[in-house]
C-alpha cells in the first residue's frame, strides 16, 4: 500500500523535519521500499501468536530505590550546561513556548 506525498509530509511534520519537494519524493520512494518488505512479513500467519515485546525472552532487571547521583551537583550542572546555547540562573533557555 504505497504512501502518498501527503502522508510523507505528515510524518516529516511529526518528526519536525523540514523537507524540500525533492527530498519528500526520495523519502516516499525509500519508505515504500521498506513497506514492501513489511508487506511480505505481514503475509506470515500469526494467528494465536502473542505479540512479542522484545526479541529475547528475558525480563527487566530492577535497581534498588536509592540516590546514586551524588556528585557535586553544581559542578556537574555547569559542565552539562557548557554545551547549551544559552543558560541563565541554572536554567536552559529555549525559544519562548507559549501555551
Amino acid at each position: 500500500m504505497p504512501l502518498t506525498v501527503l502522508e510523507v509530509e505528515r510524518i516529516a511534520a511529526l518528526a519536525r523535519l523540514e523537507m524540500t519537494p525533492d527530498a519528500s519524493g526520495t523519502a516516499r520512494q525509500q519508505l515504500n521500499d521498506i513497506f514492501s518488505l513489511i508487506e511480505i512479513l505481514q503475509t506470515a500467519d500469526t494467528q494465536g501468536v502473542a505479540p512479542m515485546a522484545h526479541a529475547q525472552d528475558v525480563f527487566q532487571r530492577l535497581r534498588e530505590d536509592a540516590v546514586t547521583y551524588t556528585d557535586s551537583d553544581a559542578a556537574q550542572r555547569d559542565l552539562f550546561q557548557s554545551i547549551a546555547p544559552e543558560v541563565e540562573a541554572g536554567l536552559y533557555l529555549v525559544p519562548r513556548v507559549i501555551e
Partner: protein
Amino acid sequence: MTWEVVIGLETHVQLATCSKIFSGASTRFGALANTQASPVDLALPGVLPTLNRGAVECALRFGLSVGGKIAEKSVFARKNYFYPDLPKGYQISQFDLPIVEGGHIDIVAGQGEECHEKRVRLTRAHLEEDAGKSLHEDIHGKTGIDLNRAGTPLLEIVSEPDMRSAEEAVAYAKALHALVRWIGICDGNMQEGSFRCDANVSVRRTGEPLGTRREIKNLNSFRYLKEAIEYEVKRQIEILEDGGVIQQATVLFDPATGETRTMRSKEDAHDYRYFPDPDLLPLAVARDWLEQTRMALPELPEAKRQRFIRDYGLSAYAAAMLTVTLETADYFEAALAAAGNNNANAKSCANWIMVDLAARLNREGLEIAQSPVSAAQLGGLVCRIADATISNAIGKKVFEALWLGDGENADAIIAAKGLRQITDTGVIEKLVEEVLSANAANVAEYKAGKEKAFHALVGQVMKAAKGKANPQQVHQLLKQRLEGGEK
C-alpha cells in the same frame, strides 16, 4: 430537555520514591535548577534507563488496593513528541500492556438528600516518567527549562467515564488522593504538583450516545477541578443548544477568569507513534513479590471504616470522618486504647477528635500528626470524664491545658489545678441551699412555671462550685429541693 454530564479523570500521581524512575538522581522537590538532572534525565548520548524497584512497588500497592489486575508482564513504550522539557523527544510510558488494569474506587458524593454512594471503575494505571518544568516567565523573551523533575516516577490512573457531575468528579479525586497517601505511595502535595488531574468532559441528551469530549489539562486543586468542569459543562450545553457542534480539543483552565481556553501547542501532534522501548525489557512481577506487597499493605480505608462501625459501635459518619487519613485513624485507635476500649469511650474519643481537636488543629493550621496533645493524653482525659473524675465542661479546660503543655497528662493537670469534680452530696446540698436563699426571685419565677429560672439556678450552683460540681447531681438535688419545698 435534560442534559447528562459525562466525566472521566486521568490523574498523575508522583510516586514517593527517593530516586527517579530510570536514574539514580534525587526526586527531592525544590532543589536548585538542574542540579538533580543526571545524564540519563538529560538524554545525553550513550545512557540507558535502569528501572527503579521502588516505583514498581508503588504501582503494585495501588493495583492491589483498588482490586485491579496486576499484569504478570508489562511493557514500557516510547510516546513521541517534541517539547523543550522532554530532552529525549519521547516520554517513557506504558501503552498496550500497562502494569495495572481494572479496579475501582468507591465514592460518596453530594449532600443531604442528594448524598449517594457510587463505584467508579478504573480503566488502568501505568508507570511513566514526568517531564521537566518550563518556566514561562519572560527571560529575555525566552522560556527557561528546569529538568530536575524530568524522570520523576508517575503513576497515571485512568478512570472510566463514570462520573455524572463536578461533585462526583471531586469526590473521586478526593477519595483517590486519600488512598494514595494512605498506602504511602504519594505525598499528596498538590501545590508542588504531586497530584494532578486531567478531566475529560462531554455532555449528551439523556439516553443518547456519548458526546464529543474536551480534555481539561493539569488541574492541581479540587476547587479548580470543580470550577473548570462546571464552566466546561455550561459552555458545551450553550454551544449545543445554539445548534453548534463541540470540537474535540485540549483546553487549559485559567483560575483568574474561571474559564477554559484551547491550547495552541501540541494540538496537531496527537499522533504519538507509540512503540515498545528497545532500551527496556518487559517488566515481570513475580507472584511472591506481589504476595509480599499484599501482606505489607495497611488495612485499607473502607475495611477500617467498616471495622470502626462494627467493633466500636461508631456511627457511619464518625467512622468516615476518622478514616479520612491513616494518621487520624491511628490517632483514634491509640486514644481509645489509652482510655480503655469500650463503645462509650470510642464515641467519646471520636467526638473529642472530630470536634475539639479538629477545631484547634484547624485554627493553628496543624495536621493531626503535629498535634501537641498526643493520642495517649487525649485517651487519659476521656478516661477521667468517663469515670466522673471531671465533667465534660472541665474536660475542655484540661484539654486546653494539655494543648498548652501545662502538664504531662490529664491526671497531673486535674491534681495541680484542683479540678476534681465535687460528687459529695453534702457539699453540693450546701451550695444549693446558699444559692436558693440568695436568689429568691428565680425561685419564685420557677414556682410560677418558668423553666428558664431552673437553668439560671443550676448555673448559679455551678458558678458557686467553680464549675466542679457534678452537673447531674446538681440537677437532681436542686429539683428535689424545689419540688420538696412545695410539699
